[in-house]
Symmetry: C3
Subunit: 318 residues, 3 copies
């Protein structure tokens, strides 16, 4: 690949030697004269950039960078993301989609350009669109519908039964058979070791463009709005309805039946225990301190109610 070919492919401007060969992408710490690097903020501009094979940056950085080859982009990170796909290695093995390595149920429909890793299990009545990649040891339980251009990371389980249970007369749990399914829209990307449960009667729905990191749990009948991003280790309890373009930070817990509107951002590790009906950023994190200091703080927190009573504080009523 040379600079000209890359610029054409990404439909961006370039400066410098069109024949400059580029064999990969480098970080700013390990520049290489055959690799291209990304400069996204002015603070990263430095002398050593002369050693890069080329630089991706906005137009107004060019004069300040001592290099001759540039990809010019007003969204250099997006250009970088698209370029990164060019350098993905081609894997020969394990043999994908061989009959040996795939456990396939009956009445499964699969679109064109399907790639499946080893140990993948697809139960009966699953429908899979075009350009779908399912990595190793993934389980797709019966009746799940997956649309086009979906990626599912290794070890994820789609369509397991939800945690719907009812206490009987003797305080024993009776399990509800979950008769709904899971619908995964187009352009969804799912990480490793996730679990997405099927709905009780209606389906659990991951709408198109949603991206989900590793070890995320999505319970029965949750609906995730388009282009929402869910970071690692998030848990979303039953029947939540998450808006479009939400950004849910890592390890956030959302209790059942919660609704969020579009364009909500939730800081990592927060607990969402009420509806979020206004767009914006929300946080609920206990600040971290030295342990000795936290011990005193935690003591006072548990006494907050009594303290305010004793202070005869009356402005609010809990």
């Amino acid at each position: 690949l040379n600079l000209l070919a890359i610029a054409k492919n990404l439909d961006v401007e370039f400066l410098g030697n069109p024949n400059q060969e580029l064999i990969g992408i480098s970080s700013l710490e390990n520049l290489n004269n055959k690799k291209i690097c990304l400069v996204i903020e002015k603070k990263y501009i430095c002398e050593s950039l002369k050693n890069a094979g080329a630089v991706i940056c906005p137009k107004d950085f060019v004069n300040q960078i001592k290099n001759e080859n540039f990809l010019i982009s007003e969204n250099p990170k997006l250009t970088f993301a698209k370029l990164s796909q060019f350098f993905k290695p081609y894997l020969t093995n394990p043999i994908y989609h061989s009959n040996l390595n795939l456990y396939l149920g009956e009445n499964v429909s699969i679109g064109q350009n399907f790639t499946a890793g080893a140990g993948v299990v697809i139960e009966d009545n699953v429908a899979i669109g075009n350009n779908v990649t399912i990595s190793h040891n993934v389980v797709i339980h019966h009746g799940v519908k997956i649309e086009d251009n979906v990626f599912i990371g290794s070890g994820s389980i789609i369509g397991s039964e939800g945690f719907g249970n009812v206490l009987d007369q003797e305080s024993k749990w009776s399990h509800i058979a979950h008769l709904g399914s899971v619908l995964i829209g187009s352009n969804v990307r799912l990480g490793s070791n996730c679990s997405i449960d099927r709905g009780t009667i209606e389906d659990t729905i991951i709408n198109s463009g949603v991206i989900i990191d590793n070890s995320v749990h999505i319970a029965h009948n949750v609906i995730i709005g388009e282009n929402t991003a869910i970071a690692a280790k998030v848990g979303i309890a039953g029947s939540c309805k998450i808006g479009k373009r939400n950004m849910i930070g890592g390890m956030v817990g959302i209790v059942d039946h919660i609704e969020t509107v579009d364009d909500v951002i939730i800081s990592a590790t927060s607990t969402v225990s009420k509806d979020l009906m206004e767009s914006g950023t929300y946080t609920g994190i206990m600040p971290i301190s030295k342990h000795a200091s936290w011990k005193r703080i935690a003591f006072w927190i548990t006494k907050l109610d009594k303290i305010l009573k004793n202070l005869k504080y009356k402005r609010f009523k809990p």
Copy 2:
């Protein structure tokens, strides 16, 4: 299935046409004249219920619902749970419990009516009771004992070694071989992608009737009391002893060596760092706010100790 057959099977009363055919269960949003629906609270009673094939509800709702076919139940949700099992689809594939798809150790005993998915691994000396279903890609490490009527969800790992390690003279970790095992009592239901570690010397014990959701971690030597419910993403550290009929909310973290009595309820995402020796509901969640507001709150929280000192607040001593 018709209304009469269902009522007989569930041993509940019915009203209306005994021959009313029912092919499934519907939600209240998508009523169908061949499907039965559940009305659990008066607020869900509405005109459109006339379109349902039948309604499950308590006796005193009948006069207010414009339908002719009813299953009468004082615990309609329990009746619904039992009914849902009738409509579970029959799966033909992947072929369960074939020699090809199951990795079976030596000296494994398996009871009657065993169902195993694809890619299941069962190591040496495992004992499995009757009516056990183990879903795909589950690993049962050596020596684990599983009693009757147990379900284990896809991707769960039972009997891995616990996280018991000792620092040596050079600050390096020396791992303890975990020689205990895991005992899973009867009627236990375990979700997907769970991890239950074996005990150090004695066993980790999940007593009968316990239900566990997805991605739950149970450490070495934990004992879970009968009929306790554990929601998704909970982590229970080593040697905890959880009482009977506890309900542990999603993403709750319980630190090591904690004890809870019977009938404790722990709200989702709370941290349990002290014994809970009285039944009741416990909570420890930092409330979520708009981020700008949380920033000010978090600032004051970290200063709480100094504030109360400055206010010369003396009622309590930390």
Copy 3:
């Protein structure tokens, strides 16, 4: 095994009958005259220790314990850890490292004394050192480097692509191909159902001697310092740099780009949202209370800013 052989092997002193046969380790609750037990604190010394086959303890406990056989150790827990390895059962099945059960890519190099469970997937260009054990259903994605004496627990996924994504002009996510890899140093031990993502350009690095419990998520480009211990369900976001000998409690969440120095201890379930640049113990946990009491506390917390304004509290400014 007899007392003499064990003492020689562990290079510790013994007292009593050198021919005392020992067939295992017992807990203090189930003493057995053919098994050895561990007494680590004086409070555990009791009459019934006479029933143990032998006792591991410090020298000064000997006179107070009514038994005749002792392994003497100033670090009895470490001696116990080493001894426990002698009693690990020998597993015959599933057949490890057979061609049938292992999905092996091209250009994979594997050192001596390799053990792999069933359903293991190793993609192209992976390099594995000596004395490595990979348990069942583990996935090692392409290009991962694993050094000597490493253990990887069942269901873990190493080298999946990180959660690096860029919004395009239409608020859709464009995924970054992750071209870095994962380097796992020597003597690393990893639990079940973990996920370790490959780096974007440079590698994700788990340095030697690190121990990691179950269901831990480590994002792209994280670097973990030597001999750090990470308990179950921890999530470490992208590009964090964790020091040496840290101890990270269960379910801790560390947001992206955080740095910790050496010898930091983080209490279970805390959120780390700022660099920890001084060694010591840190905590950030909302204390758990009876729910009714928590409701009042949570109310006041959300009002803390206004309360202090109303109290005309001026010592600090948020």
